[in-house]
């Protein structure tokens, strides 16, 4: 079926390293993608989004890259901190329409050791 998936369920890094979290999507018509961070016991928190007419978008310490050719999405976190430890989900809006459901991947657990 059409879904968003992730390459690795877990990622462990040292404090100060750069982290890269990957996501593959299957719906080539998807036009809008979001990365969420979910800490234990909390709801998903918006990090950054990107539309399909862009290849790259930068935020504060985070960068999202979109490769439409291979249907791949990645989240780069610079100078990873212990507070970045969480589960990260990519999500897509396959219809690029307000009021339609996001499809979430299974998530990657990022563990940052100091």
């Amino acid at each position: 079926g059409e879904s968003v998936g992730l390459h690795l369920p877990t990622l462990s890094v040292q404090e100060g390293d750069n982290s890269i979290i990957n996501c593959a999507y299957s719906n080539s018509a998807s036009d809008y993608f979001i990365w969420y961070k979910q800490e234990s016991g909390k709801g998903p928190q918006f990090i950054i989004d990107i539309r399909s007419n862009m290849d790259k978008r930068q935020g504060q310490r985070v960068t999202v890259l979109l490769n439409k050719t291979v249907k791949h999405l990645s989240l780069q976190i610079a100078a990873t901190q212990p507070g970045d430890s969480a589960v990260y989900f990519c999500a897509e809006n396959p219809y690029n329409q307000a009021g339609t459901a996001l499809i979430f991947g299974k998530g990657t657990t990022l563990s940052v050791s100091s």
Partner: protein, 114 residues
């Protein structure tokens, strides 16, 4: 309020019991979503409201699930005759207008059916 508030935070129900989960969205937010998140999985869409109108309920897993938002603000998700497979975190999210993604999630209600 400052964020999306959900109550109760935890709910333990005996199999066959009815439960009601409440969501208080951010004041003035038009769009409201309910998602179900099983342990170790990404959130899955249940239903969507625009103001008081339920525009999409395609994700509700069975007719035991019912959601309402009668005055376009507070929403209630009701599950009748709960079963063990209903055990999950139920997340509510809202956004200020009909926008594509990027909405604010609550911390969820963790439902355990025993």
């Amino acid at each position: 309020g400052a964020g999306v508030s959900q109550s109760p935070r935890y709910k333990v129900a005996k199999r066959g019991q009815d439960v009601a989960l409440r969501c208080d969205p951010i004041s003035g937010h038009v769009s409201l979503f309910w998602y179900q998140q099983a342990l170790g999985q990404g959130p899955e869409f249940l239903t969507y409201f625009q103001n008081e109108a339920q525009l999409d309920k395609s994700g509700l897993p069975s007719d035991r699930f019912f959601a309402e938002r009668p005055e376009g603000s507070v929403s209630t998700l009701k599950i009748q005759r709960t079963q063990q497979e209903d055990s999950a975190v139920y997340l509510c999210a809202s956004s200020p207008r009909r926008q594509v993604g990027g909405y604010t999630f609550g911390s969820g209600t963790r439902l355990t059916v025993v």
